[in-house]
Subunit: 308 residues, 4 copies
C-alpha cells in the first residue's frame, strides 16, 4: 500500500517536532522556495530520506502560467542548481523513467530541449569557442524494457565520459495532488532506491557513481490510496472522532483499498500528456542557464530549441 | 464535482428497485455479459441515460490475459455488434477523443487497426471481389484543437459518404477502478452530451445524424472524487454511522474536494499508455470480425495488421 | 514515370517563350519573391497548372537560418496571404497528407501550431473579446487510411462550418532538390488532382467547395527520376550532343528507370523529419499573423504555442 | 561525394577478379542467400570492408509479402545468426541510429519487439525457469543528440553487464535502390567507422569491446549521387561512348552534383516510415528465435509482442 511521498518538504510536514532537520522558506515572486536540510541519521530514518539538502520551488499556477512566470521558474532552478554544481568539468544529465509511459516520461522530455555540447566544445567556432561547458545526456530506460539496471548503464557511461557531476531527472510521487506539475525538488542526495513513479530498485548516488549526483524531480502522480486516506482524515477530524476509532477506521480503509487492488492506481490530471511537456521544457531551460553561464539567454534559446 | 459513470450497468446498480429497466446477465467463459434495457422515460431520467439497449462485456483480467482470451473478447464484441448492425450498406467508424491525451486516445487507437475497405470494395481483386463490406473511418478530433464540434464534422461526412450506420468509439468514465480497461459497453443509443472522458458537448445520435449510431466504449478513468466518496462510504457503513450523519459527512467531503480543486483529477493505472493500445486492438479485431462476415479470421488479420 | 513539379515557378522556367503568362520577381531581404500569373487556358494546358496566381517565397538557407530570418519568412507569408483572404468570416485550415509518412506530414504539422479560435471568439474574455477572427482546422487523412476521399470530408465540414475561405496546406514535389524545405508556394487556384506528394485524386477548388480555396505548399521531395534526367541533361549538353541523339538518350533513360522500378522513389534530405517540423512552424506563424490582424505578435505567440 | 555501399555483396560485384574473396550463393525459397568471405588484407582494402564473413539474405518482395514469407525471412536470420553466436552467456543487443530520423530508426525499432529477458531469467516461473537465455538491450542514440560517442556508451554497458557477445542493429546505405528494405546483411566483423546512414565515427568491434560483435543491417537509403551516376553509366554504355570520354563525363557529373549540394541527399521509398516498422519486426522475430532455442515460436510471440 502506497502512502509515500518523494518530496522532503511533505515528509517534513508530517514529522513536526522532529529534531535534526532545519527548514526555511522564502518567497521569490510567485514562487515559494523551501530549503529542508536533514542533518542526522535519526531524522533521515524518520523521514525515509537520505541526509542532505532538499530545495523545493513551488508555483501553484505553474501549469498554465504565462511565459514570463515560466522563465522566472527556470531562472530559480538555475540559481539553486548553481550552488550545487562543481565549478568545472563536463556534466552528464540522466533522464530517468520510461518514455512510453506519460507520467514517467519527464526525464526523456527534459533531454529533448537540453543543450548538448560535449562534442562541440572544442570546435573552433568564432562566436562560441571557449564559452561552452561540456554537457552530455543519456536516457537509460527502465529495467523491464532493457533488461539492464539503470545504475549499470549510468556507471558505465560515467567511467567513460568522466563527468564532474551527474544531474538525474525523475518523475516523483507526492502526497498532495496540488503538487503535480507545480513543484520542482532539487537535492544533492541523488536518487534513492524506492523513490520515483517507478520505484527505482537501485540508487544513483555519489557512493555508487563516484561523482556528486544532483537529482531534480517533479511530482507527476499521487497514489489513489493517499487521496482516499486524506479525504477520510479530513472528515474524521470534522466529525470529532476520538483517536482510537480514527486509527481503526484507517486500518479498515487500508484493508478495503488492498482488497480492491488500488495500490498501484495513480491520480493524475487529465492533461498530464501536455503538462509533462510544459514542465520538462521549464526544467531544460533552467539546466541550460545553469550549465552555460557564458552564453546569453538568447544564445541558449537559439541553440537549444532551434538548431539541430 | 464528478460522481458520474458512463456505464449503464453501474447506473443500474445504484438504482435498485427502479421500474422500467430490464437486466439480465450470463457468463461466456471468462466474460460476464450484462444486458440492461432502459424502457421508460422515467427510468432514463433517473439513470441519466437514454432509453435503449446497453450490453456490457466484462473480463476482470482483460488487461494482461493471454492472446486466446483476448480473441474470445473480440468474438464476443463481434457477436453483440452484429445484432445491432444494419444488414447492408457501408459503415462509418468514428474514433472520438484526443489522440495526444492518453486516457482519451482509445478512438484513434482503434482506427489504427481497423480494416478500411470502402475504397477497395469495387476493385476487381480475384480473391476479395464481392466479399468486402465497405468500411470508412474518421477521427474528428476535439473542439479545443479543431474549433469544430465533433457533431458538425461527423454530420458532414455522413451526408457525403452515406453510411448505413455510424459506430462511435469512445473512452468512458466509470465508478469503479476495476472497470478500467476490463469492460466494453456497446449501446444502440449513440453518444450523449456530457458523457465520455472529455464530456462531449453535443451528441451523436440517430436524431442528429439520420442513421443508427452504435457507441462502443471502454472505461479509462475514474474521477478521484468518486474514489474518495466510495472509500468514505465503505467506512461510514463499517462504523455504523446513522443515515443523517452519513449524508452530512458526504456534503462535507464534497466541499473539501472542491476546495482542493480535485474535480478534474482522474484515477488511472500507471500503465494506461500500454493498456489503451491493447484494448484498442481487441476492439478493432471485434469490429473487423463483425463487419466482414465473408472473410476468414486469417484474411482479416492479414489485411488489417499487415498490409499498408 | 514522374518528371513533374508542383511549383508553377519551375513549370514556367521550362516553358520559356510561352504567351499568356506574366511573371515578376523581387527581393525582400534574403527572400526571393516570384509572382506567376497564368492568364489563358492555353498557357494553363501547357504548364499543366490551373489559371490563377502563384506566389513563391524562396529563402535558400531557410532550413537552418536564425530565428529572425524565419520570422521574416512568416511575415512574408502573412503579407501575401492577406492579399488573397476574404475580409470577413471564419477560415477553415485543412492539413492534407498522411501524418505517419514524414515527407507527407506537413499539413498535420502546421495544424499543431495553428491558433484555433472559432470556439473562443464569442467568449467574453476582457482582453480578447471582439479581436479574434474565427479559425477552425481539420486533418482529413488520406484515402488509404480512411476510405474517404479528402474532398468528401472537406465538403461536409464546409457545409456545416460555413467558412468564408479554405486554406489547404500540402507537401509538394519539385524538380530541383535545392527547393526542398526552402520554398513556399501560395496560390489562389486551390488543390488540383494529381498534385502533391501523394498525387491527390480529387481536387479542392472553389468549384467543388463553393468558397475560395487558397493552397499553401512546400516542396518536400524530388522524384529520383527527375534527378537522373537532370544529371543526364547537364552532361549531354556538356558533351555537345546533337538534339536527336539527346532525345533518344532520354527515351533510353526513361525505359531503364522504369525497368528498375524507380518511378516511386523520392529524393529527400536525411534530416526531413526535423525539417518538416521547422518549416511547418514557420507556416503556422505566417497563418496566425495573417488571420489575426488585431492581435500583437506576442499575443499570438503566447496563444498558439503556449496555451492548451 | 557519396558513392559508397555498406553491403559487402555489392562491393564484391564491383571488384570482379579480385583474389582473397570467396563467394557462394544459394536459394532458400524466395530468399537468395549470399556468403562473402573477405580473407586477405589486400581484398579488405580494395573493398573498403573488414576481413570476415558477410551473409546477405535478399527477398525482392520483402516489403509487401504475406506473413508466411516474412516468417521465412525471420527463420533464415535465426539460422545464420546461430552459426555466429557464442553457445552460452548473456547477449546485448544495441540499436544504433537516431529514433527521430526515419531512415535511421531501424535500431530503435527492432528493440521494440525484442524479447528482453536478462532480468527475468532467474525468476522461478514454473513454465519458463531454466529456459530463457539472458538478453538485454540498449539504444545509445547519436553523438549530435547525446554528446557521447556510441562506443563510449556501449563499452560502459559491456563492462557492467558482461555479455558474451554484442549484436548491433544498423541502417545501411546501398548502391541499388531495389535493396532498400529487401536485404538483410549479417556480419561477424562488427560496425566499422564510416558505415551506416549516419557514417559512424567510431567502430564497435571485438577489438574495442572485448567480446564478439555481430552486426545486422538493412539498406534504408541510396545516395542520390549513386542514382545519378548509375543512370549515366547505363546510358553512356548504350551510346557506345569510348572509355576516356566516359571517364570525363563522370568527372563532370561529380562536379555538377557537388555544385548542387547533392552529396547528402538520399533516395528512399515514400513509404519508408512504414517499411522500417515492418522490417524491424522481421529482424526482431529472427533475433528472438535465435536467442531462445528452448522456447517455442508461440511462446516467443506471446512474450515479445503481447506481454508488457
Amino acid at each position: 500500500m502506497q502512502f509515500r511521498t518523494d518530496l522532503a518538504m511533505e515528509s517534513r510536514e508530517m514529522a513536526a517536532g522532529l529534531s535534526g532537520i532545519t527548514t526555511h522558506s522564502r518567497h521569490r515572486g510567485a514562487i515559494e522556495e523551501t530549503h529542508v536540510r536533514i542533518e542526522t541519521e535519526e531524522a533521515a530514518r524518520a523521514l525515509e530520506k537520505a541526509r542532505g539538502n532538499y530545495i523545493t520551488l513551488a508555483h501553484p499556477g505553474l501549469k498554465w502560467c504565462p511565459p514570463e512566470e515560466r522563465k522566472e521558474m527556470a531562472r530559480a532552478i538555475c540559481e539553486e542548481l548553481r550552488t550545487l554544481l562543481p565549478p568545472n568539468g563536463d556534466l552528464l544529465v540522466v533522464g530517468l523513467g520510461n518514455r512510453s509511459m506519460t507520467a514517467d516520461a519527464l526525464g526523456s522530455r527534459v533531454l529533448e530541449d537540453l543543450l548538448v555540447t560535449r562534442h562541440l566544445k572544442d570546435i573552433p567556432d568564432e562566436s562560441l569557442h571557449g564559452r561552452l561547458r561540456g554537457v552530455c545526456a543519456a536516457a537509460p530506460g527502465v529495467l523491464g524494457v532493457t533488461g539492464l539496471e539503470t545504475a549499470e548503464v549510468v556507471q558505465g557511461i560515467v567511467e567513460h565520459a568522466h563527468p564532474a557531476a551527474v544531474i538525474a531527472i525523475d518523475a516523483l510521487a507526492a502526497r498532495e495532488s496540488s503538487r503535480i506539475c507545480t513543484t520542482v525538488q532539487i537535492t544533492d542526495t541523488g536518487i534513492r532506491p524506492g523513490s520515483g513513479v517507478r520505484n527505482h530498485r537501485v540508487g544513483l548516488t555519489k557512493e555508487t557513481l563516484g561523482v556528486p549526483v544532483i537529482a531534480i524531480g517533479v511530482p507527476m502522480v499521487v497514489y489513489a490510496s493517499v487521496i482516499a486516506r486524506d479525504a477520510l482524515s479530513l472528515l474524521l477530524n470534522d466529525i470529532g472522532m476520538d483517536e482510537r476509532t480514527h486509527a481503526q477506521a484507517m486500518d479498515t480503509l487500508i484493508d478495503k483499498l488492498a482488497e480492491q487492488g488500488m495500490g498501484d492506481l495513480v491520480v493524475t490530471p487529465r492533461e498530464v500528456d501536455e503538462l509533462v511537456g510544459r514542465v520538462g521544457r521549464i526544467i531544460a531551460d533552467g539546466l541550460n542557464l545553469a550549465f552555460q553561464p557564458r552564453l546569453t539567454e538568447e544564445e541558449i534559446q537559439l541553440l537549444s530549441h532551434d538548431e539541430p
